[in-house]
Symmetry: none
Subunit: 292 residues, 6 copies
């Protein structure tokens, strides 16, 4: 039987990934101490890996597809097909950044000042390539964790390369950003051979369509309302231009029923406007998936 193998990220992304798959229609379950999640689709098979390792295993063909960050794709120099970006792990849609940071009072101001310095990072490879491209010779050493605090310990390192989202953790450690190595968001990646296999490609594309449909539905709601036929034009003028609304007949021929999909964030402004131009019995209902 043909199978599509998926590399899931363990750790902090695990729960939000499984939750996204659930909303897309796939129940993924992991018993404690196991690493092989069960999936309620016999054509899919999953394996848990650290986010750092996934791109490499997709490249080797251990799994056909994977979800992991752009940063770790770069770091592992994996040769994979980046099919799409999936922003689901945080409320914020801002990408994370890997930055070079130094103590606030360090003499280092620009990346060129790192010549001959020692730098600690979990992202050793990408950091080294970044410096080589700029002709800077520096010693980049692997950090096992709590990298931010290392920059502040006298005699340890001159700079660090660390992940930041809002910069608040850097500020709390009194660090200053010198430069940005790369930005990163989660990617849906596919092994190159698998992408050439028509069955696997279609299976992967279908899965991606459903994942994106579930993400889209998070931000949308359905709206229905009754509108007097005489006021229909005025009501439609208030609607967001994007999609044609659906209009149905009522028993009472003077009225129609109007239905649209709207961004959840505009509804609080839209409902009072629609009500003022004559919409009645407005209801808002939740959505599971939206696929345009």
């Amino acid at each position: 039987m043909t199978l599509l193998k998926i590399g899931f990220p363990s750790g902090s992304l695990k729960d939000s990934t499984f939750n996204l798959f659930e909303r897309a229609g796939y129940k993924v379950r992991l018993s404690s101490r196991s690493y092989v999640p069960s999936i309620n689709d016999p054509e899919l098979e999953g394996l848990m890996f650290r986010a750092q390792e996934i791109a490499q295993y997709v490249d080797r063909g251990v799994v056909d597809i994977g979800l992991t960050g752009k940063d770790w794709i770069l770091e592992s120099e994996a040769d994979v097909v980046e099919v799409d970006e999936l922003v689901y792990s945080k409320v914020s849609s801002r990408p994370v950044r890997w930055v070079i940071a130094v103590p606030e009072d360090s003499p280092i101001q620009r990346v060129e000042d790192l010549q001959g310095c020692r730098i600690a990072s979990e992202l050793v490879g990408a950091t080294r390539r970044f410096l080589q491209e700029r002709g800077i010779e520096a010693e980049v050493e692997f950090s096992w964790g709590t990298t931010e605090v290392k920059a502040g310990i006298p005699g340890l390192v001159d700079a660090i390369v660390e992940l930041t989202e809002t910069g608040s953790s850097l500020r709390a450690n009194r660090l200053r950003i010198v430069d940005t190595i790369c930005e990163s968001t989660t990617r849906f990646i596919v092994n190159k051979a698998a992408w050439e296999d028509s069955w696997k490609r279609e299976k992967a594309e279908n899965l991606l369509m459903l994942l994106k449909g579930a993400l889209e539905a998070e931000l949308k709601v359905g709206l229905k309302m009754n509108v007097a036929r005489a006021k229909l034009e005025e009501v439609i003028a208030k609607l967001p231009a994007l999609h044609t609304p659906t209009v149905s007949n009522q028993l009472d021929d003077d009225w129609v029923a109007l239905e649209i999909i709207a961004d959840e964030r505009v509804v609080r402004d839209l409902i009072p406007q629609l009500k003022r131009v004559g919409a009645e019995g407005i209801i808002e209902y939740p959505l599971n998936k939206v696929v345009y």
Copy 2:
């Protein structure tokens, strides 16, 4: 920039208030130890106060609108516009009451018997006015908490004035109700000057429309069903009279699709009746907001 300032109640009402705003379309977040919640609408600004203080601060204009109980509006003698009532803090829709209570075996039977007595309450002002209007002289002292137990401690006080919803806590403390000072529910109040400002008034009215739309949706569901055109009249006769149903055509011309909004609590009786008179494929679905 024009702003509408909102006084939110801290304490036991905080979470249910924030939750109601969320369902209405406004994300209100309060970081710990802060008193200025963030709201994802740049035209709104919030401040947290104890429910006891909000009416007074709306009166003074520290904030434009507030949510607080009728009891504390009376207690603080605030001069504000009570725009509407919002029942959202408890499953029950019964209002709370402030009552005069005495030990079960007390000789006090009527409010007139309180002449010359000592009374403990957190609602000192309203209690004093209630007694003065009836020509009763009594000493009303402020109680810092657990007022109910004070009525039972020999030599402490003769009566208490306390909040009650179902009376169960009074019974547990073996107290008997003598009279009612006032009933109370949550109110949406507005500063008098703000109510005359057309921008603030419209903003407040829109907000109220969405809050009430979210509350209404809690108690309603949507129902859809397929009905043979020949049985349509009989099915419609079973429906609650309130609103006109929506009827749509199906591919098969002998059938129509019928859709209504119904009280969640009648659905369990309605569905079997509709089924018996010929409705088919009945579905019930959840609602986020209902605005008539």
Copy 3:
């Protein structure tokens, strides 16, 4: 006043049963240490029992209806009307099985080898009948719990009869399955006399209709989409044959809106197919009840 009395299972089935009733429209609440749940329908009265006991109490007429497993109906040899099966207690729809199990290295290979043996089980009666029907004499003793570990203690018993769903707990205790005593799922059972009483029977049938409507909705979703009139036939050809779809007119006469109820588990395959043959703006929304 006429009442329908319900026997609810305490223990592991309690929460899922109450939850199912909630979704059907009945709030069932049990205060701690009580056994009489409150129900927000004055025509219903509930009692909590161990699942093992319910069939027997329905038989005796202590309650009119009950929810319990087929295994305990058999064990108690109760004479009741099994109206329907309700599968709601687990994600999986697989029935549980009671099996005879022995240590992996036991010489016992077939049920006939149990002649003269000692067996521990919580299901003593059904086990004895099973053995008697096969002419096997064995001592079946009641086990108070942790039956699985008993099979592994030298000199205690030769075999056990225990409940299993996936077999994983048996494997963890290094046990081997020899035979199956019975399979079991939850049943909606009614007392024979109550079933002849027309008021009780209709009340029981209405309740069952709503319980099944809520269970059905768990597995279904609503789908709506816009389809160009020219592609309608092709789209309808992709739909599951079961039910006629609803088609509504749009303002733009070249398009129609199509709506169906679909199994949640086929949606992940259906959406990509519909999209490929021309459906647009596909949305999926959740359902509370589905009653055909």
Copy 4:
């Protein structure tokens, strides 16, 4: 190698039993889903059982010794040596009782009134023997739990036999006690053959000495104080008569140091008295074990 096998009660007694063994000097650990606890004494081996089963397994020799209630020893009619009583499972030292109880308004007043009745209990055997000894014929049926509520369900049973400590649960169920079947406390029991084996008997006796030493220490504290030699007689006169105090010399020959073991509950009266007759520098310190 010679071993003493111990049957430990699982369920509600497990943690307090393991804790008592820990204080006696034995670390007993049970990994989850296991039933063979590890003990840090190679001469001891443990097995977990339900309290109901232990006496029977001690009788059969599956284990040499066990800790279980007098009630279950009687119920299982086990032929074992009851070496001692150990009161450790509750703050209270009151034994539990198995009582016959009926609804408050039942016509049953004395045990003789149970003639021809139906009784539910978890303690079927002891109940039957109790009734037979009094010439009463009644049907005693096994109850799977929540026995107390059964007495209140019309048509179910006429009486129950249930465990009670303070009677509060019976009162909460509006039941009245008719008679007492037996009282029960935890017993340290030994298999008859093991008790004749001199190695096992000494090992069991040593274990019991340490368990009782730890229990004794819970209720005792050590007291030390400095006393002027001139006031020694007066101080000693205040001490509990039970044990001779220890007196040591100090560098300053006019003073002695006095040390006693006292009941923790008298210390709050003793210390002020000792201070008033001249004791100085009184210290109280905790004890692990007390073996007289």
Copy 5:
């Protein structure tokens, strides 16, 4: 029967107060929703009150003794006997302070600048008296909570009077201290008439002795060591001068055993010193009570 009635503080001090009584030898238990704790001494009776109310009720004789803060004694102007101070509610022994605070950038620099201002506080009475004594007229209004944030809301108040321990919460709210109203620690207070009753006074004094004995023991440990008689003088020279050590003879006449009570915080310096001058077999053991 003669009784000593105790007013216990409810709220944040409750658990630490009950814990202190437990260590002193009194088990105080409060069932939820009750206000009459049980105490395992028939001569004591307890009542729970808010700390704010206790001094007033000790004054009126509702209870004989109470534990509450110096601040609330002053605020309620209660006429009671302050017998002793008990520092037990925090790790720190620093007293709390009630301070006048203003926003960092306020023009108010000294208490005199408050003339004509509005001040919010929970300590209305003491604040008014403090200002009157200095001839300052200002409006002091009662604050129901989160007083610190009020100073920073434009147009609300000019200053606040609030409790502070380390000042960190004031700093977090960007407030500056202008003056101190009073300092406060917990006091053991007695009703004046009760203090003249010899039985009540002795009972209160005994209770205080044990409470202080338990508090003292928290900070002390016992030390024992063996010392060669020849080095005794040198070892004793290293000991804290406060108390005479106890010296006992050993079997080997060349050695003595030496025992002292020492502050826990000096032990880490004392032990290495004692070891260096010849003490051997040094042991440190915990204490329950120390009564000099």
Copy 6:
């Protein structure tokens, strides 16, 4: 001011290390997200590191002393003074082991069979040296975690090197141990230069004395008993030979009081023996520190 800098292990050892310091007399506190713990001794300064890194930082002089495992000292090839071993992180005193493990059904039986294989481990350096010393060429790759499951994924690696204490996790993953790389316990290590500085050396030695005194006390208890002078010799003959007991006179001259420090684990055997030869009133009490 002179300071001794300590490298503390973060992660799983953090809490047990801080707890050990607390018992030794040093309060070490770490606010969340910080890496510089506060210590209540102005002569000490702490830094948190991963256990993997500490030896290297002691070698470099970033800190003067550190606590870390022998495994990570070897892995980092640090040149430090290993002053002592401190066994405190687990109940068991068994050292942990790093082992080479393969799937149960792997053809690899001995370390020599790893020629040309791929191995995953967190302990890359020590593993490579181990193989080189045996002339084996194999690819050792760094593993980011869940190493044990990797051995079971087809095509990933041939063997792993992983930490094991009891082997249970290896068995759960169906792995077989092929060989042991190294054993490891926690070490108290000092920088070579710091060890030559007399102030730092004495400070480190005092700290070590107190840490070991607290660890020693975990395993010891104090024992006191009364002995008839006539039986003293017989009782002393039963005592562990190690230390001279302390003997004090009692008021009754025929009796003496005898006191010793004993291993907690022998007490359960010692007490019954002492009792049999005539010791009376034996008490056991807990110890905080024991420094010989």
